[in-house]
Symmetry: C2
Subunit: 348 residues, 2 copies
Amino acid sequence: MLTIKDVARLADVSIATVSAVMNGKGGVSPELAQRVQQAMEALDYHPNQVARSLKVRQTHTIGMVIPDVTNPFFTDVMRGVEDEARRNGYSVIFCNANEDPELERRQLSTLFSRRVDGVLLAPTDSLAAQDRLTRRRFPLVFFDRIPTDFSGTAVVTDNLEASREAARHLIGLGHQRIAVIAGRLNLSNGLKRLEGFRQALQEAHLPLREEYLRRGDFQLEGGYQCGLELMGLPDPPSAIFCCNNKMTLGLMRALGELRIPCPERVSVLGFDDFDWAASFSPRLTTIAQPAYEMGKTAVELLLSRLGTRKGSPGGSEDTIVTLKAALCVRDSTAPPCTAPLTGGGFSP
Amino acid sequence: MLTIKDVARLADVSIATVSAVMNGKGGVSPELAQRVQQAMEALDYHPNQVARSLKVRQTHTIGMVIPDVTNPFFTDVMRGVEDEARRNGYSVIFCNANEDPELERRQLSTLFSRRVDGVLLAPTDSLAAQDRLTRRRFPLVFFDRIPTDFSGTAVVTDNLEASREAARHLIGLGHQRIAVIAGRLNLSNGLKRLEGFRQALQEAHLPLREEYLRRGDFQLEGGYQCGLELMGLPDPPSAIFCCNNKMTLGLMRALGELRIPCPERVSVLGFDDFDWAASFSPRLTTIAQPAYEMGKTAVELLLSRLGTRKGSPGGSEDTIVTLKAALCVRDSTAPPCTAPLTGGGFSP
DNA sequence: CTGTTAGCGCGTTCAG
DNA sequence: CTGAACGCGCTAACAG
């Protein structure tokens, strides 16, 4: 393996000089710099970053732990993270937490051992934030979700407002029997989405019937089950708001098996947009989160904390950036049908 | 930052002893080992992996460069990689190449600087393999696709056989006018899929009309365009085989806009399965690649090369593992309609 | 402006 | 079985 010494020898200078030109320090005569450059080229020399990291005490690596890599929302975030990180000379070690707090802990632990400069985290429960492992171990930026009573740096979408808008869209269409498939309620995203939905209903003086509030787990299976239950009700809803992409998938699967046409018999509005949403029937009405931008912002936040870290501690912390989501109206939402589709008789 | 010295001091032993217990070397009295363990616990000590890496000359990190993180096929592979890597004490640095050979080169370069122990690569063109950057720099395992005239270690799915099966399914349904939307033909996956399709047609003594062979770029837009063109033909196909997931999405979008019912008017069979495929209408008939297993296998292959690397060079190289894919028959394929749907008249 | 030297935190000799 | 010394490849302080 080539080292800085090989370059120095070939260029006939000291290793300090080589180091200086590599790091763009001034104070090297143009001729020598030239010689060094050529030597590096000739040898196809790549400086050993691990040695460098040991010395400068930063690895230019950030860790990212994701609850679920197969969720397209998170992969969009990842793209934003990777792009922005690379543009700033950082690499990213990604870890899958599989929505498992214990695994999350272990991942955080190895990230620390690898001395990443900072970590991007979408926590799987509310504990991570308080953990001695995370706090003070390294700069941490939360994304997508934050624990209750959170203080720190984070970037999230405005889940409350987005969900209100979603519900208002349904209400505006004339729906009165609106159900919601909520996600896990221990983290901010699930909670705020339900809350926003509730608020909009309240503002419209519409009740949220108990049997219309279902709780999934953000997974496909949960959405499927809730969909089955909801449509099996004596008085099924005419519209359903589904709090994330995977559950929406499950819901649609349930509707398909039940042969319940959407939007004719029931409207569906799903949180999270994805390519697929516009390719199949029905084309899904969704709330689109700015996922890529979220990743980009998370890195910016982290890097700025890293930059000022040397300054007085407790400086620019406790920043929560909130991103706006957008309603994408497509074909899965429509006014409720007035004529009953089930029987031949009338109903009010 | 805590070091091994702090542990040694607290346990009142030498650093060598601490090192020995950490690495499970024998020759330490149980009592001392106990003391050391307790000290490590008490301090919540995490060994500095970067220092360790510098010394032992391996980072226990593998690099993975992916052509497109947003493609669910690759994220499934990633899950397999991450899981298997972690189980063997490896972390993974993932890089997005964005289907861009130049970016791929840069990513490979920084991976080398970071001295990853090996790299998993789905190359974006045929050059990477020959590159002086990749060859001999570090152990390399290709996945998903290999360059033409490849030699080395790789894991791919049996694209040829899978595509033959796909085409045979369509033929078995009675289709005669079968079109194909092929992908990029410079890499093995695109090529083999087309080849398998061709073979099956030949075996059935069916011609592949020139206008029925379209070439996409594995992206959604390409599938969309090809779909438009194909269905705009004077004599449109009654079935389409689409060579990857994203193009299938585009194709379905085109069909939707054209209001061409699937499978009534045209059957669609897409390469790559995904959760979505079973949730919307029509439920897609697909070829399901064992993506997770591919990731897992890639890591196994890499790790075994790493393990025997100290042995005679050129040992267990040039292994190409081929994984079987499975046909998932759902609703998007059906026998061709015999009655014309377009006009009211007859046609043969 | 350039070269020499001392560590960064750890693993691994070697004496004891 | 344990402890002190050396070096991995690099940067930073200092000396020339």
